[in-house]
Symmetry: C2
Subunit: 419 residues, 2 copies
């Protein structure tokens, strides 16, 4: 197989399909999504068999348990996949939304129309559910999708692709609207990320390593999600009961998510009062603490000494770094310097400090008196998310359907010419 | 001079300055802009002398007339520069705008805040006026700027930088808010476009070659402006008087601008009636025509045969390609295939065709019954533009202050935690 030629064909076909998708109305796109959901449920046995093949190979290859877990398409997972397709069908269609029309002095009427981005390339690890998920979001936003999942999920992905294609055909849309790469050759990724003629944007989904590698080599814009090194700052004027609840929830509600708190910052004026109570609570949950000097002076030997490296670290584990600070300025500086511009929260009853925190913390989500765990597409009402962007241009934070579109300018005239 | 180390310093200083700018209020930014305008007018003689040095060197080096013209900072040019700074001061400040706040079922109140991008790198050719222009737009949008102008304008740019820095100091803002690279070493560009730690976005301004080169090597997102291969399609149901006026204006009002029409598409049903009248008008203006077979059959030997290459070409000159088409579908296909996704117009009185053209033509500006020449920041009411983007993500078309900002998510809570 000539990978370069194959990927060129895939790209060209995706571009052609994107033109058809751009003019497909919402009803047609929704019919496709609902038919995909039906096919997924009907083909439950086929999907399970294909996934079994992948799992057997992965076990033989000695894949570790966490990866096997992600690779597994359980019966409940298949149901959730079908449900996800139906949920995307139920979301409002962002394409074609017209806004901000007004007359200019020249007499032209100027406004904006929301349009698909065109062709989206998604590169992800061996998680078969992403195949249906990403296909659905791209399709609903009017984009053609080129999907490249981890090679360990090859058979599962091809089986899901068959369901997706059936749905497209039922609605009279081209198969090429969603193309799942039909090779496990890694060279295909290298080609995909440089297909600037045919691919408008890449969305890598997976670990930081994968995303950093793709971003470094891509010749196409990338919507990327690197670390989630999130902070909660408990201010001097915090409601301490709220602060306790938020600091515990932000760390312990789930450990492996990107919006989990990784460093807790505490104003020195309340540290002696709140830190012992927090330490007890974290201790009960089995969270290991690493603290600055002042934290350790208050909490003693149960807290390991935090190193410079700790402040930069996204643990994704029951580990928490704690730092006691003099004031809000230090908190803002710490977050902007060590953080990853993902999600950061302040707990305070002070109006001016809340305002400063919201304005000056340079993160995609900034919060007052709420847990960082709220930063996701579902909680934000986007319905579903293709990822969370840690970039600053285009879309910041959770990226839903709107993030997979752009706006073009529309001019309605009556024969105006420029003088 | 160690260029790598120098550019690292520049980047680090810009990042630090961007934090100060992000919290600078509108009044402070405007005071800086007005003080810059005053300094520019007061230092008229200094600026002229510095520019004279550049012009002497350029003449000795045998620079061609068009480049000398761009390099020249005339007295009127200096006045316009000061005026431009005042105009940017008068524009509304986009930073801090809060919108779309609503309550989510969890009880959090979610909305968006418009924020600066951070640090913007501008790379441009030897046009000294861009130095003041770009500095003003970046500053007003709350961004730190790193400016790298063409080396032929080195002395002019340094003189303008002194005025810019004076303005910043008057307003109590750091000099490093706007840094004009103090070396003509080309290696500085290579460093700037890979400073992903410190630079959030690059805006190259200049010819297609420069922009393509920068985009190919950049490791930082680029807002880029490649070709403007713009079309007007005269539909069967066009008001022919409007069509004449628009087709003549779009081509001849200015030849060198990116929103000038380069290919005229004509519906076969009206070609015989309108093409001879257009040919006469273009002939009077000295526009050379290149046509398809059908065009040449109607207009004869005065029209050269267009090649496949012509349909792709942005002439930026008194040359026009003309193609006669069967219908709207062919027009849309032609524009999407050969065009550059910049600005395209249809002339028609047909409601459904107008709607299809607006939706299906994949360009940053789509127009009905208006000249493509309207596609610019001033005509669109942006006040000023840093460029016109031919990209699809972030900003499409004319990029003004809003295009130099992003939106972050804001969550206002009352102690909510995730269940």
């Amino acid at each position: 197989m000539d990978i370069k030629r194959y990927m060129q064909q895939v790209g060209r076909a995706a571009r052609a399909a994107s033109r058809e998708l751009a003019r497909a109305d919402s009803g047609r796109k929704n019919r496709a999504l609902l038919a995909m959901a039906e096919a997924v449920e009907r083909d439950r046995a086929l999907l399970t068999a294909a996934n079994g093949k992948d799992l057997d190979a992965a076990r033989s290859a000695g894949l570790e348990a966490a990866l096997l877990d992600r690779l597994t398409l359980s019966d409940a997972g298949i149901t959730a996949m079908a449900e996800g397709l139906r949920q995307v069908a139920a979301l409002p269609d962002p394409v074609g939304e017209m806004s901000d029309f007004s007359y200019r002095p020249s007499g032209i009427q100027l406004g904006k129309m929301r349009v698909p981005l065109g062709v989206i390339g998604i590169i992800y690890e061996a998680r078969p559910n992403v195949t249906a998920d990403a296909a659905a979001l791209c399709l609903k936003a009017g984009n053609a999708a080129i999907l490249r999942g981890g090679s360990e999920a090859f058979h599962s992905n091809q089986a899901i692709a068959a369901c997706v294609h059936e749905g497209l055909r039922v609605a009279g849309l081209p198969d090429t609207a969603v193309q799942v790469i039909e090779t496990t050759d890694r060279a295909a990724v290298g080609e995909l990320i440089t297909l600037s003629e045919y691919v408008d944007v890449l969305v890598p989904r997976g670990g930081k390593g994968l995303i950093a590698r793709i971003s470094a080599d891509a010749r196409v814009p990338v919507i990327k999600h690197l670390d989630g090194n999130c902070h909660v700052f408990i201010d001097e004027r915090a409601n301490l009961e709220q602060a306790l609840a938020i600091a515990i929830n932000a760390k312990t509600q789930r450990y492996g998510t990107c919006n989990t708190m990784e460093t807790l910052l505490v104003h020195q004026a309340v540290a002696a009062e709140i830190l012992p109570r927090l330490a007890t609570a974290y201790g009960e949950k089995g969270v290991a603490l690493r603290g600055c000097e002042r934290t350790r002076a208050l909490l003693g030997a149960q807290v390991a000494a935090a190193t410079e490296e700790d402040w930069f670290t996204e643990y994704l584990a029951p580990i928490l770094a704690i730092k006691v600070l003099d004031d809000l300025d230090q908190a803002i500086d710490h977050i902007n310097h060590y953080g990853s511009h993902h999600t950061d929260a302040i707990v305070t009853e002070d109006y001016s400090r809340a305002r400063r925190f919201l304005r000056e913390v340079d993160s995609s989500s900034v919060m007052v008196n709420a847990s960082t765990r709220f930063a996701d597409g579902f909680e934000y009402g986007l319905g579903a998310e293709i990822g969370i962007s840690t970039d600053k241009i285009h879309a910041r934070g959770p990226v839903g359907l709107v993030g997979l579109t752009s706006q073009k300018w529309v001019v309605l005239g009556d024969g105006q010419v420029r003088g």
